[in-house]
């Protein structure tokens, strides 16, 4: 087991290095930060001096090596846009994204599994069919459109919920939270629905189809034959066995909730790392883009690692020798 974990960590490190290399090779196609950093009165001499200072004249491999050398010492450089240390900016922005992702994830999981089980058990019922049809909206509408529709309905027309921002936040020693104020909680509702809707419908459809399959298996029939109550059959025996694919998908989707919060954050002006990344791309803020991409890849690699370990815990067949072959 330990060797397995070590090997996975080693593989992960290589993935990270490659991601960084690819990212740095692409930055020069995003554009040139100099014109954004200097005003329109800048002279050619200013441009040259700043390019030299920032090391933009060096080949991207050299830039990457310098970035790595600094990054392992915990220094991610200075944002070109804000003139502040990147690590500090990321720390400031991370709570907003993580809280949003957590609420969306909980919404997606609870409603996804609940509705999935419901539609599987009542597969021919009117309600189940209605939910299945409606869920197509969640899968097919683009996120920004859902966000704009929700804003239009709940902010502009009804005036119930705020259309932008995080509301009042409370600072708990470097971690700003919106969970402790009414306006912070209100501000979470629309963005978390927008962000979680796709995942919710995905989980729901997955749970439903897995559940339908499991309900046809012999051991479920035997369980019923033994006279167990429906509740026990559905939740103790059937649901538990549908969980392996659900965990895989949920794990990966949790990563994408955080990584692709970009669009939701832009629509709702949510001050998280996704909005920061969009600003960084527009400004060609290379240190921020680099640090963000590395952070996101660390997260994806980490989540995959955890998911692999969870398999082993959920599915006894994967324990022991077979885990090594996975």
């Amino acid at each position: 087991m330990l060797a397995y974990i070590l090997r996975r960590i080693f593989q992960s490190a290589i993935v990270l290095l490659v991601v960084g290399l690819v990212a740095f090779s692409l930055f020069r196609f995003v554009g040139d930060p100099i014109d954004n950093m200097l005003g329109q009165e800048r002279t050619q001499a200013d441009v040259e001096r700043l390019r030299e200072t920032l090391g933009l004249n060096e080949p991207f491999v050299v830039q990457y090596a310098k970035f790595l050398g600094q990054a392992v010492q915990g220094n991610f450089g200075m944002s070109y846009r804000q003139g502040r240390p990147v690590a500090e900016i990321l720390m400031e922005r991370a709570p907003a994204t993580l809280e949003l992702a957590a609420v969306s994830g909980v919404l997606a999981l609870s409603f996804g599994i609940g509705l999935g089980v419901f539609t599987a058990i009542r597969r021919d019922g009117f309600a189940a069919n209605a939910i299945m049809t409606l869920s197509l909206i969640g899968v097919s509408l683009p996120t920004f459109l859902i966000g704009i529709l929700l804003i239009y309905l709940f902010s502009v027309e009804l005036g119930w919920l705020p259309s932008f921002g995080r509301g009042e936040v409370v600072d708990l020693g470097g971690w700003t939270t919106g969970f402790l104020t009414p306006s912070g909680l209100q501000a979470l509702i629309l963005p978390s629905i927008t962000l979680g809707l796709y995942q919710m419908t995905l989980i729901m459809r997955l749970v439903r189809s897995e559940m339908l399959e499991v309900l046809r298996t012999d051991y479920i029939r035997f369980a019923r034959a033994r006279g167990l109550r429906d509740r026990a059959v559905h939740f103790r025996h059937a649901l538990k066995n549908t969980m392996v694919p659900v965990i895989t998908v949920t794990g990966l989707q949790l990563g994408s909730i955080i990584a692709f919060a970009i669009i939701t954050e832009t629509v709702f002006q949510w001050p998280g790392v996704g909005l920061l990344f969009i600003n960084a791309i527009q400004f060609v803020d290379i240190p921020v883009m680099a640090a963000y991409l590395m952070l996101i890849s660390v997260m994806f690699v980490g989540i995959n690692l955890i998911v692999d370990l969870l398999y082993v815990m959920v599915d006894p067949r994967l324990r022991g020798d077979s885990a090594r072959g996975h």
Partner: protein
């Protein structure tokens, strides 16, 4: 999970409909971008200056009409003894937000700070050789020759407190090498009408009224607290205004003007902006690579440039692309600028004459060329370019449009790798010399840095250089008019329009639109 759903339902129920407008004297204000830094000398950029104008003050400012208005200086004039010296008399009894008194040494310190290498404001101060303070309420600027328009270069040059900067290690303007931000980037201590209360970059900046402000009796100053929240997405920004969550928005998308104007309690305020949109062509090269003509450069022929200029239907662009929100332009200076005349700015379209000119120039069968255009810099920039593609086709010029984000577009101009491009230009000094220096003068030395047309005319260059030190204003204006005549006759640029600014505001907020898109909140009266 039940607890979470319960909590969400509870908050949903607890929510009541929001009050439509600000009842207290708080002004909630949104625009697309945030100030990049509070250090007033680190960035020469619109949103950054806008926030600085609430907290800091220059010696003089421009009011909502663009006219000079005294701020920290009460009056200014060239020295009667020496034409190379400007004398500024400072306002008495002004204090900084921390209580320190303002005097001439702070002005000297601030100007010198803004002249350092890491300052973004230094290019506006290149003519200044020395700043001195003969007494605590007088400052003298010594320039390298007579500089008649020095005051127009100082309207965004903010004064900070010398002792505060020294005490907080903020003498240097931010530099990227050091890896640390300066104290002044996050903190502020100005003499302006509002005191910085709290700031989270890109999220929220709160300012409260400075009760010791020298101009308490002179300006409305009805707003006691400003809450500034950047909202990047245009639809969300408009939604925030419609739902009453903010009282004023800048950067209104033109397609939402009707929606806002038609809402009870909201108004759209409109005024011409200090920015002109135009096209430039590389006429300097013997041959250009992005066209279909071998061995020659069609743009080098003035008749081709004139034909293209005549083929552009600016009224159609205004109606179709800009939804009426633009002012068709015949010259590349907005109407506030010294040197602008209605005759030069008049426009006309004549496709038949344009075709005849093309024929005469030997391009009767037309040619094709690539047009580089930004898609996230000016109002509907890509749409304007698309419209021009169609208009050029009428005279046989096949335009291949390359639209791209500004971060990729502007390097093409800096590196001179574009042959046909769009550009927008604002004139912070309100004087034609600024336009000539950057856009008309040959690209040599410090001048012509944005002239990617390759146009070079030594005679014209000499006239442009003479403007810097001509103290006889009438003679200077004659030279400006003469230069414009050449610029128009040679069709160095193809002007399109002057941009129009739209602000969406709650009806109770009395404010006039500022041509530089920098609302100064001290002017706001609340009805």
């Amino acid at each position: 999970m039940t607890r979470t759903t319960g909590l969400l339902t509870a908050t949903l129920l607890a929510t009541t409909a929001m009050a439509p407008f600000a009842q207290a004297e708080t002004l909630r204000w949104a625009r697309a971008g945030d100030s990049l830094t509070l250090d007033p000398h680190a960035q020469n950029e619109g949103p950054t200056h806008t926030i600085a104008h609430q907290i800091y003050e220059p010696l003089l400012i421009r009011d909502m009409t663009g006219a000079f208005e005294p701020a920290l200086a009460t009056d200014w004039a060239p020295s009667p003894d020496d034409p190379n010296v400007w004398v500024f008399n400072l306002r008495e009894g002004v204090t900084f937000h921390d209580g320190a008194a303002f005097d001439a040494s702070d002005v000297v310190f601030s100007i010198e700070r803004a002249q350092t290498e890491d300052s973004d404001m230094k290019e506006l101060l290149t003519s200044i050789v020395e700043v001195r303070a003969p007494d605590p309420l007088t400052v003298e600027f010594v320039t390298d020759g007579p500089n008649p328009i020095l005051p127009s270069n100082l309207t965004n040059l903010f004064i900070i407190d010398e002792d505060w900067a020294r005490a907080n290690d903020a003498v240097e303007v931010q530099d990227y090498e050091g890896g640390e931000e300066t104290f002044a980037a996050r903190n502020a201590n100005g003499t302006g009408p509002y005191v910085l209360n709290s700031r989270e970059p890109d999220v929220r900046t709160v300012m409260t009224r400075f009760e010791e402000y020298w101009g308490m009796d002179q300006f409305p100053l009805d707003v006691t607290e400003i809450v500034y929240t950047p909202i990047q997405n245009a639809a969300t920004r408009v939604a925030a205004l419609l739902s009453g969550e903010v009282d004023i928005i800048q950067d209104m998308p033109v397609q939402d003007l009707g929606r806002v104007a038609g809402t009870d309690g909201l108004d759209v305020r409109t005024a011409p902006q200090n920015r002109t949109i135009f096209f430039g062509m590389n006429m300097g090269a013997a041959d250009i690579e992005t066209d279909s003509v071998e061995g020659a450069n069609p743009f080098a022929d003035a008749r081709v440039r004139q034909a293209m200029n005549m083929a552009i239907n600016r009224d159609a662009i205004k109606q179709v692309v800009m939804r009426g929100q633009s002012q068709p332009a015949g010259m590349i200076a907005p109407p506030f600028v010294n040197g602008w005349t209605a005759e030069l700015d008049a426009t006309s379209t004549d496709v038949a004459a344009a075709k005849a000119l093309m024929e005469e120039a030997g391009y009767g069968d037309g040619f094709s060329v690539q047009l580089d255009c930004p898609n996230d810099r000016y109002i509907n920039d890509e749409g304007i370019c698309q419209a021009v593609v169609g208009m050029m086709a009428q005279i046989g010029v096949t335009v291949n449009l390359e639209a791209m984000p500004k971060a990729q577009f502007f390097p093409l101009i800096s590196n001179r790798t574009t042959n046909f491009y769009m550009l927008g230009w604002g004139v912070p000094t309100y004087d034609s010399e600024y336009i000539f220096n950057f856009l008309v003068h040959s690209a040599e030395g410090d001048r012509g840095s944005w002239n990617a047309t390759g146009y070079s005319n030594p005679e014209l260059d000499a006239m442009i250089q003479s403007l810097a030190s001509e103290t006889d204003l009438d003679a200077r204006n004659d030279t400006i008019a003469a230069i414009w005549e050449v610029v128009q006759a040679e069709t160095i640029y193809l002007p399109i329009h002057h941009q129009v600014l739209n602000w969406g505001v709650a009806s109770n907020v009395a404010i006039e639109v500022d041509p530089e898109d920098q609302p100064k909140i001290k002017y706001i009266a609340l009805n």
